[in-house]
């Protein structure tokens, strides 16, 4: 199976899982909810609504209803670009807003439910949004043709202006009303890519959200204020799996501004007139926790356990040839064991949500990433039919995977908090950074045990044992687990892009009572590091160049080889060095259908800490819809990945999270950010993801550079200040 097939099959699995969710808990979800689109009227009173995605108002504005959450990765701009392209709109007239939660109208075509993840926003919307734009265009043209009494085929559209050779011309707004009375055509032709004016054209589609976000005007969930709203914070158990045994709210209730204190399933909720009184109230609360069912192991114990397991037989996740036999006969086996800590997503805006209900119906507003599941959960908790619950998605202040919870823990807590105080008391649930960092849903702790054999300068055998937790297990996405293998635990490691005769990858899935979750680039966060460090180590032992050595192993991996060559050109690769105290390391990873290669230039800075000066990156993500957003996502992916391999760890001590704020959960700062140069490899393939694929290669690229500076490739992350 090629790498491409893997991503396709992953999508199919997700689709299956999605259908399952709806089938199990929300029959006819779509039909029940599709009223929401009518209730919701973005852009004010739009005169023309040709489909679920496009609204054209008399004032000429074109508003795209974006089914994906915008948390920085750019779907507002990206999906609006697709519509504008086919509509032949002027970019200046484009607007974007979140679509409401409605699984029928706004499903992610890769999942079967509404949601964002797996870097699929552009990929699954590419045709759908273009078709939405083309339909609107055809109807506007038809309306103009009728008004002008000319054949539709003689009308041209350019930058939001309809024109006829007779000299007649008009703007969209003028025909919006008339177009709204027409029947939408069943079939519309899409543009030949050669005629694209916006897609792939640098500088034509500046972000739609930059101004609001540069002036403090952009509204996030935490900014919601409504009359009589109460702010809620929840005291949660200090260890995962703990429960409230009893609590005493006497002192908490004395805090000025505290209105009520209630127990909810996740802990004890304090309701107040503002954030500070809520926090003070929580501080004054006395809670006795029942920790009989709590996870009490710490990272140290877990790692020891994982080490032991890695030396036993696991479930086979990938195999060809007979690696064990080659290893058993080899004179020399090269080994490495990599340990990856728990990591928090720590989105800049800690998770939060707003909910108002009156017993009959509810409105929830939050940075929802899996709207369909959040919607179902809120309806269920409140005992309402889903058609009585409206979910509005707000801008998310970052996510990195955290807002996409198969369990909807946030939506559930929000609804429980609203329910506990009763109807007609709007609530805004907020979390502090401490709540966020100690709240779980981490990138799981992983251990990789790698063994390899070299013969005559060639890698002849490769064996990997991977140990960690599965967050798909027990989730609505469980259907993705096949033959005991959770594919997102081994993606990137169960099949290599490198041709090695004898290969094996084993998986050990461990049950730990720590809630875990996908984290930007999911399995590739650890498999990318383990594989790319280990292949580099083997190539080094074999005396081969990191670039040429990889290329020689890539065989059929055309697109991956192309990005590797492209990045080598960009960086003027001339071996790893070091030169003048700076060495260069390579990392190349395919993830989410995109191919990314990076070269990092590294020296040893103060106190021997790695200092990353520059990163070159080449990406092939198919058709590059918004080149500047791709560059931005690569810059962000590299910074995010780098910050965590250098400094990020969420350690558990006897089950308790140790790092609780940014003073100890060290995050990359501006002085630690390398210079970045990005090359987007031209491609006419279908567009693929850019939000995540920038992350995986940077860690190994830095590690592989360190190996040329007389350091070992770090076996345990983070590279700086690791405490386990």
């Amino acid at each position: 199976m090629t790498a491409h097939d893997i991503s396709l099959s992953r999508r199919n699995l997700l689709k299956g899982a999605g259908a399952l969710v709806i089938g199990l808990s929300l029959p006819q979800a779509g039909r029940a909810q599709s009223g929401a689109a009518q209730v919701f009227s973005p852009g004010g009173a739009a005169a023309f609504a040709p489909n679920a995605f496009v609204r054209i108002a008399a004032d000429d504005t074109v508003t795209v209803l974006v089914k994906h959450i915008e948390f920085g990765q750019g779907p507002f701009t990206g999906l609006a670009t697709l519509v504008a392209e086919e509509l032949d709109a002027d970019w200046g007239q484009m607007r974007a807003e979140h679509a409401p939660a409605d699984a029928k109208l706004y499903a992610n075509l890769a999942f079967g439910i509404q949601g964002t993840g797996g870097s699929t926003a552009i990929a699954n919307s590419f045709e759908q949004m273009r078709r939405a734009g083309a339909t609107a265009r055809a109807m506007l043209v038809q309306a103009a043709a009728q008004a002008w009494k000319v054949p539709a085929a003689e009308i041209t559209v350019e930058r939001g202006v309809l024109k006829h050779a007779s000299g007649k011309q008009g703007r969209f707004g003028e025909f919006a009303e008339a177009a709204s009375r027409l029947q939408a055509p069943a079939e519309v032709p899409l543009k030949d890519p050669a005629r694209f004016k916006l897609i792939g054209k640098d500088g034509t589609t500046p972000r739609l959200d930059s101004l609001g976000k540069s002036t403090g005007k952009a509204q996030f969930t935490i900014d919601i204020r409504t009359p009589d709203m109460l702010t809620v914070v929840v005291a949660r158990p200090p260890r995962f799996g703990g429960k409230v045994a009893s609590f005493d709210a006497t002192e908490a209730r004395k805090v000025k501004g505290v209105v009520d204190v209630r127990q909810i399933p996740s802990g004890v909720a304090v309701y107040a007139t503002g954030t500070w009184p809520a926090l003070k109230g929580r501080e004054a609360l006395k809670v006795a926790w029942d920790e009989s069912g709590a996870e009490t192991r710490g990272s140290r114990e877990l790692i020891a356990e994982y080490r032991r397991l890695a030396r036993t037989e696991g479930t086979v996740a990938g195999r060809h040839g007979d690696a064990e036999a080659v290893l058993a006969r080899a004179d020399k086996v090269i080994e490495a064991e990599f340990v990856f800590p728990y990591l928090a997503h720590a989105p800049m805006e800690p998770l939060d949500g707003y909910l108002e209900w009156n017993g009959q119906g509810a409105l929830a507003r939050l940075g929802s990433q899996l709207q369909t599941i959040d919607h179902q959960v809120i309806a269920k908790v409140l005992g309402l039919g889903p058609e009585k619950v409206r979910v509005e998605t707000l801008l998310g202040g970052g996510s990195f995977g955290r807002r996409a919870q198969p369990t909807s823990e946030l939506a559930a807590e929000l609804a429980e908090a609203a329910k506990a105080i009763g109807p007609n008391r709007p609530v805004k649930l907020v979390r502090t950074r401490e709540d966020d960092l100690s709240g779980g849903y981490y990138r799981p702790l992983f251990l990789h045990r790698m063994r390899g054999v070299l013969k005559d300068g060639r890698i002849t055998a490769w064996s990997a044992a991977i140990v960690g937790q599965s967050f798909l297990k027990g989730s609505p996405f469980e259907a993705m687990i096949k033959d005991g293998v959770d594919p997102v635990m081994v993606e990137g490691a169960s099949e290599l892009p490198y041709e090695i005769a004898d290969f094996r990858c084993d998986l050990h899935t461990v049950d730990v009572g720590v809630p875990t979750l996908w984290w930007r680039s999911v399995g590739h966060t650890h498999t990318g590091y383990a594989v790319e460090c280990f292949v580099d180590r083997l190539l080094q032992e074999a005396g081969q160049d990191p670039v040429a050595g990889r290329l020689a192993l890539m065989g059929k991996q055309q697109r991956l080889a192309t990005v590797l060559k492209a990045v080598a050109d960009l960086a003027k690769w001339n071996g790893p060095g070091p030169v003048g105290g700076r060495a260069r390391g390579v990392g190349v990873v395919e993830s989410f259908g995109s191919y990314v290669a990076q070269i990092a230039e590294v020296s040893l800075g103060e106190g021997g800490e790695p200092k990353v000066h520059k990163v070159w990156c080449a990406i092939d993500c198919g058709v590059a819809v918004n080149p500047d957003i791709i560059r931005a996502q690569i810059e962000g992916g590299i910074g995010f990945g780098l910050g965590h391999v250098l400094y990020g760890e969420l350690t558990l001590d006897q089950g308790r999270p140790v790092q609780t704020n940014f003073d100890s959960y060290r995050s990359l700062r501006i002085n630690e950010m390398p210079e970045i140069e990005v090359a987007i490899v031209p491609s006419s393939e279908k567009p693929t993801g850019v939000g995540e694929p920038g992350v995986p290669p940077i860690g190994p690229a830095v590690a592989n550079a360190l190996a040329r500076l007389g350091r070992e490739r770090p076996l345990s992350l983070p590279m700086v200040g690791g405490s386990v």
């Binding site: 948390f71 920085g72 990765q73 750019g74 500046p206 972000r207 959200d209 930059s210 101004l211 609001g212 976000k213 540069s214 002036t215 403090g216 005007k217 952009a218 509204q219 996030f220 935490i222 900014d223 204020r225 702010t231 000025k256 501004g257 503002g274 954030t275 500070w276 009184p277 003070k280 720590a346 989105p347 800049m348 805006e349 800690p350 801008l395 998310g396 202040g397 970052g398 996510s399 990195f400 502090t432 950074r433 957003i629 931005a632 810059e635 962000g636 910074g639 995010f640 910050g643 704020n661 940014f662 003073d663 995050s667 990359l668 700062r669 501006i670 002085n671 950010m673 210079e675 970045i676």
Partner: protein, 153 residues
């Protein structure tokens, strides 16, 4: 207790506990939500405002300590440095999620008021207290240099 504070040129009276951080007074009492909460412990800079023109982490200053100082939030930015910085932010499409950017913009403007033509090192020093989890730092740096060029005329 009732506190009288000057925010964006207007005196406001707010009835909150003395230890209430200025941040929450701005956001919850005055509705000035452009100033963000990111950590509450002066580690991230999302809550940056000006106190008598100097950047300050409003999460870590109790309202009782504001006294007669003049507080300025992002809602009341004015002047050529502010214009240059915000224009550069838009031109470079700096924001991703955008949540940290109020604080970034506030710190960048304060830097340019202090140092007309900042070096990369000046930028590091002035901006290192502002975390961006989306790591938009490459563009923050480029936008500050660009704004400095605009101000040069």
């Amino acid at each position: 207790m009732v506190h009288s504070i000057n925010v964006n040129g207007t005196t406001h009276r707010v009835d909150v506990d003395d230890d209430t951080p200025l941040l929450w007074v701005l956001r919850d009492n005055l509705g000035l939500t452009g100033t963000k909460f990111g950590c509450g412990v002066a580690q991230c800079g999302a809550c940056t405002v000006y106190m008598d023109g100097q950047p300050l982490r409003s999460c870590s200053l109790p309202v009782s300590a504001v006294g007669d100082a003049r507080i300025t939030t992002i809602e009341a930015l004015a002047g050529k440095e502010a214009e240059a910085v915000q224009a550069a932010w838009v031109k470079h499409d700096v924001p991703q999620c955008g949540y940290c950017q109020s604080g970034q913009v506030m710190s960048a403007i304060a830097l340019l008021k202090e140092i007309r033509k900042p070096t990369d090192r000046d930028i590091d020093l002035a901006m290192t207290g502002n975390l961006c989890r989306c790591t938009t730092y490459v563009r923050i740096r480029a936008a500050i240099h660009d704004a400095a060029r605009t101000l040069e005329g």
